[in-house]
Amino acid sequence: MNWLIDPFRYSFMQSAALAGVLVGVTCAVLGVYVVLRRMAFIGDALSHTILPGLVIAYLQNMNLFIGAIVAGMLTALGIGWLSRRREIREDTAIGILFTGMFALGVLLISTVHSFRDFTHMLFGYILGVTNGQLIVIAVIAAIVVSALAILHKEFELASFDPTHAEVIGLSADRIRTILLLLMALSVVGAIQAVGVVLTSALLVVPAAAASMLTQRLPAMMVIAAVIAAFSALVGLLISFHYDVASGATIVLTCIACFLISWLVGGLRRRVAA
């Protein structure tokens, strides 16, 4: 029992657990739309394009969150704008934006000589989360979850039947842009926990696991949130006891949950058939 409880006696582990659960739940709930609307690639792109924003904020001694949020919002609006025009295919446009911005971030990093902080940006540093960062993460979680609750029927309709949405005057493009902005916010929170490289895993993996287990949207969101919160706690414990990178253990626990869900879902379908 002590193996489970003792680590959380340390205050840094309590902060990390709270941050991990908040970030995981936020990403997982929103991630259901990311998975169902096949936007996984955009999620990956968003987290990578935030890097130059982080680095510029760091170099200017500004709050890192402000740099990340500005870069994330600009990317979300940019992708929304690009996908409305048809000259370049959307995945190509995103591929260009995403690698270009990431390269710019790496270039900026190489102009300074302290790499420690940038390792944290790339791979996360949840054990060092400050109270200020915790507040930002909590505010982001509140914004994202309440937006999804208030606009549930609009998000759902525009996702499976954009044509009917348009006919009754609900702009599917506008809903998509709101979704992109919420994704940018969630990604900013997640970068603190698992870093730029692994953030899209939190958006995709818990939601994908939940989609193996249910055919109802609200249930899918709840299951995804539970899987993400569980993975954050277990990942932290493994990281604590074996002294390995916490971002990686959190993501790998999510993946393990996905594999189990996949097997369980497959077995249930076989029994039902």
């Binding site: 499976f160 044509t163 009754i168 249910t214 109802r216």
Partner: protein, 242 residues
């Protein structure tokens, strides 16, 4: 209520036709050829109208303009005397089935309920009356036993009936149906035909794009042939196709 469109609908223009198109032309971006080339059409309220023609003739384009999904390049179109897309709750558009993500995790009942959203707008949640209208529409389309199924578990014909049920739940006055009888079973065919007849008795208007030319004359008040984006008189079109 906070309407989605934010546009104003003047609801009572007495004796306004359901649809009036005057030399409507439209073009898709990046395509030189006109998809519609100066089409005129007057549909008095309560009529049932067939749009007939080969693929690519402009039938779907015409319906999309009427539904407010596409902009007109030149000419004018009015729906019950207002601009297209102004009175969005009065117009129901049944797209071809391919435009919906049938794998999405929603039930048949939820799909039909979305017909009520035009009356709800932002923030308002569906109330008792909305669920009642949904269940009545499901029964009328004989889908009540399948109401809790995920939408992808329905057959093609059942999916088509679910879309018509949504239009009934919406209580629209003008129904725009794009190939509703394409590749559906005999039961669906019978239910759809009977429902369209009942709707007409209630004074509703329907414009239907169809390939089904055999029983046209007595099922429709008006038949419009479209070829290469132009409307063609009945006699000339039948001559061409024979």
């Amino acid at each position: 209520m906070l309407r989605y469109g934010g546009r104003s609908c003047i609801s009572a223009i007495p004796n306004a036709p359901a649809l009036e198109a005057r030399c409507v032309s439209a073009r898709y971006p990046g395509v030189d050829r006109l998809a519609l080339d100066c089409v005129d059409l007057l549909v008095p309220a309560g009529q049932r109208v067939a749009l007939v023609g080969p693929n690519g003739a402009g039938k779907s384009t015409f319906l999309k303009i009427a539904a407010g999904l596409l902009k007109i390049q030149s000419g004018t179109m009015s729906i019950y005397g207002s601009a297209t897309a102004a009175c969005d709750h009065r117009v129901a558009y049944l797209a071809q089935r391919g435009e919906i993500d049938w794998h999405f995790p929603v039930s048949v009942r939820k799909l039909v309920l979305t017909g009520r959203y035009a009356h709800l707008g932002w923030l308002r949640r569906p109330g008792r009356g909305d669920w009642d209208a949904t269940d009545a529409a499901l029964r009328r389309m004989r889908l009540d036993a399948l109401a809790e199924r995920q939408i992808g578990e329905l057959s093609g014909g059942q999916q088509q009936r679910a879309l018509l049920a949504r239009a009934l739940a919406q209580d629209a006055d003008l129904l725009l149906l794009d190939e509703p009888l394409n590749a559906v079973d005999a039961e669906t065919r019978a239910i759809v035909s009977e429902t369209l007849r009942q709707l007409q008795e209630q004074g509703k208007t329907a414009i239907i794009a169809t390939h089904d030319v055999d029983r046209l004359s007595h099922e429709y008040d008006q038949v419009v042939f479209l070829i290469d984006g132009k409307s063609v008189p009945w006699t000339e079109a039948t001559k061409d196709s024979s």
